[in-house]
Symmetry: C2
Subunit: 153 residues, 2 copies
DNA sequence: GAAACCACGCAATGTCCTTGCGAAGATGAA
DNA sequence: TTCATCTTCGCAAGGACATTGCGTGGTTTC
């Protein structure tokens, strides 16, 4: 992708707010004809600027009331150690986010659970079973203040 | 919403993977007629199980190459202190996630930045300016291992 | 057992999406 | 400057899609 102009940004911004907006509404909002808008969107998708669309589910409605932040330290930082850990953590459906980090610990995870009992199960069956882990530190979110899908443009 | 049956779950799951899927494709995927599928989706949206749809932007394409995890401690935990901090942090567009936490620190933030210089600006102009902050600890993500929008169903 | 209820499929209608086409403006070389 | 080329636009048409009303069948309730 060469560069995003004002209209591209408007398209991206609108679909960030409402990813299921019709092309007709979108084109009107950004001040283009439907055909021109459709073609631009096609380019934005194919070039990877927009990498997908996702329904946002209410965690409450789905009974996921707990969010845990987990700091994990491994026994080493060799490439094999890291890749084995990562392959394993990817299999756990409750892990929403996992980053390899600089600093005091190796990985940080964001884990969704239905309740404390559910988290205990996840901790026992998944987190404790991850390879090369030497330390797990779980903190629980008391309240969600912000949860944006993307950076505000 | 009373309860989600198998078909509702299939709808939600499909739209989680592709939020812009047409109703025609969706109905075929879950084994319903288009009309029945449209009516179910309408209920799922109005009842709040699906709270929205969002385009997923490639941070790389938008030049957000850095992700920071920031732990913040406040000078106190009074209601006024917390709400003033939260009102201020909500204004920073680079903060993707903010949780009030139990444990060693008060808040955890996930902050997107274009590069180190950009992060330095965010830290100076936004984070340091947040009220009641006594300690800021920034760690940087070396690699994204997982970033799911929702719990895997 | 009858009535009420619920979710379904079918069909129709109005809307929407996409593609081809020609025009307008920008860019660059002779 | 002038001409060729390239890009992006709007319009129009054809096919796909979404939604609504309606009738049916199965289930619950009294």
């Amino acid at each position: 992708m060469s560069e995003l102009d004002t209209i591209d940004l408007a398209i991206v911004k609108a679909l960030q707010a409402n990813g299921r907006m019709s092309n007709a509404e979108l084109s009107q909002k950004v001040g283009l004809s439907a055909s021109a808008c459709s073609r631009r969107l096609d380019i934005l998708e194919k070039s990877g600027v927009i990498s997908g669309y996702h329904a946002r589910l209410s965690n409450k409605a789905l009974d996921y009331k707990m969010m845990a932040i987990v700091h994990i330290s491994l026994s080493g930082q060799g490439a094999k150690t890291l890749s084995e850990f990562e392959a394993a953590v990817k299999l756990c459906p409750n892990v929403l986010v996992c980053y390899l980090m600089s600093g005091d610990y190796d990985y940080i995870l964001r884990v969704a659970a239905k309740d404390l009992e559910d988290y205990e199960r996840i901790h026992r069956d998944w987190l404790s079973a991850l390879p090369h882990v030497v330390k797990i530190n779980s903190s629980f979110a008391l309240r969600e203040v912000i949860d944006r899908p993307n950076v505000g443009l």
